[in-house]
Amino acid sequence: MPLLRIGIVLFENTCAELERVARSLHASELAPGLSVESRVLDNSADRRLEPLTAELLGKGVYAWTGANRGYGATHNRAMREAFSAGADAYLCLNPDAVLHPRCLSELWASAAPAETGLVDARTFPEEHPKPYDPETGDTPWCAGTALLVRPAAFTATGGFDEALFMYAEDVDLSWRVRAAGLRTRTAPGALVHHWVEHRPLTLERELRVLQSAAYLGRKWGNTVFARRYDRLLRARTRKPVESERPVSVAGADRIVADFAHGVRFARSRW
């Protein structure tokens, strides 16, 4: 029986958020024969959410990491666990998201073709403006809100780049998956409610975006793009910026990267 492991990484989330996401998991319609299990890794300062997680999702699901290791590093740990336990796919799911009841079955159906590496759900009510092919679902990169990862994609890439603490780690993973010859798809019928547009852009969040953008530019060989965002980062912080030196991606693989559309990393439909 195929197994889908759902990984949720917590960091100081509210009980209401955890309740909403758990309720949506329980309301999910599953593809016939598909088995689903959850894993919750908590990067919070304490284990406050452990009892509620056990109540909502079952005992043995929760693990406290003891430190905030970031989205990518924590999902990598959960993915290693999942694939070594024989999971056929792993879903990175944001704790502040709500799955539409058909989301899991639509994601699973879109992941069926053998060459599929990643499949993302369509964010709702504000759909991401990056394009996808309405017939095949092919998309330049997959968003991390509800991101299904096939074992082949994890094997080929090792998962997220852990140097990217927050933002653009999904873009980087998608490009590496495509460079490895696998496909990145959107499942148009998979809706995930994730409303963040009303949240204020704090300076901390803005700096994280700029850091990640500059890092991505350096890693994928676009020095003009990297310099542009490093300069902006310096202007925003008003002090010299320590730039991390990533391992550069091989020249032939750089063809999949798109730096022509700023930090959207793809043409925008709107």
């Binding site: 709500v98 009841p101 504000e126 148009p188 019928g189 409303w195 009303h198 542009r228």
Partner: protein
């Protein structure tokens, strides 16, 4: 703690597109701080699908009540009424923000038009979303160029016509009755409603169309600069904010 206010939403499907219904219902069950009572009017052939959609979205556990069919009216507890065409989608705070205005006027939310392409067996593909110009007190003429315009409006039950509209011509008649019963005002802030672009004529034919184009340009222009020259954009934004603060 007082109970969340109740709003009646009449959701009308004009097409056989099941995803339009699904997305509007998903948007309604995820509204914050209000309890939507939703009546769903669909062609008879789609009633089975509509019932299944209502049942599956109720499982998400929100406070919304969903039922298929057109009731004779709304419950006495409802404080306001909205009429959505299937395919309309709103931000989770839309109904609560519009309701806050409903004490003094019928509320009109800023909106975007969504031009879609049907895809057999899959959800329609959104080709573009464009911002609409919304004046401070929008006229029926300004709004009515979009057949699905009622999705932007919320009318207090005391001022709402006592019937629920079905066809496009009913929507205009319903709106005309609502407009004649009191003032109309725009909800502040960015667009909170996406309405399906169901127009048959999309050319620039009036001053309102030009205003729409300018509203879109006003939004997209800075985004265009931000993507191509982020440092220049950051400096321009800084100057703009300083000038605005000085003017206050």
């Amino acid at each position: 703690m007082s109970a969340a206010p109740r709003i009646h939403v009449h959701l009308v499907a004009w097409t056989d597109e099941p995803w339009d219904l699904e997305e509007s219902l998903f948007s309604l069950v995820t509204q914050h701080e209000v309890v939507p009572s939703v009546s769903v009017a669909v062609p008879a052939a789609n009633e089975g699908f509509a019932r299944a959609a209502c049942e599956r979205l109720t499982r998400l556990g929100g406070a919304a009540e969903l039922q298929v069919g057109t009731p004779p009216g709304w419950s006495a507890e409802a404080q306001a009424v909205a009429v959505w065409v299937a395919g309309t989608v709103a931000t989770p705070d839309h109904l609560a923000r519009a309701l806050a205005l409903c004490g003094t006027a019928s509320a009109i939310a800023p909106a975007r038009r969504v031009l879609r392409r049907p895809v057999p067996g899959r959800p329609p593909y959104a080709l573009r979303k464009t911002r609409r110009f919304t004046s401070a007190s929008p006229s029926l003429e300004e709004l009515g160029r979009d057949p699905a315009f009622l999705g932007r409006c919320l009318v207090a039950t005391a001022r709402a016509p006592g019937w629920l509209p079905a066809h496009p011509e009913d929507h205009r008649r319903w709106a005309a009755e609502a407009w004649s019963s009191g003032p109309v005002a725009r909800v502040a802030g960015p667009p909170s409603v996406d309405i399906p672009d169901l127009r048959t004529e999309r050319g620039v034919r009036s001053l309102d169309d030009v205003r729409d184009a300018l509203a879109e340009l006003r939004y997209q222009g800075p985004r265009w600069i931000e993507r191509r020259a982020p440092l220049t954009f950051d400096r321009l934004r800084g100057w703009y904010n300083r000038m605005r603060d000085r003017a206050r």
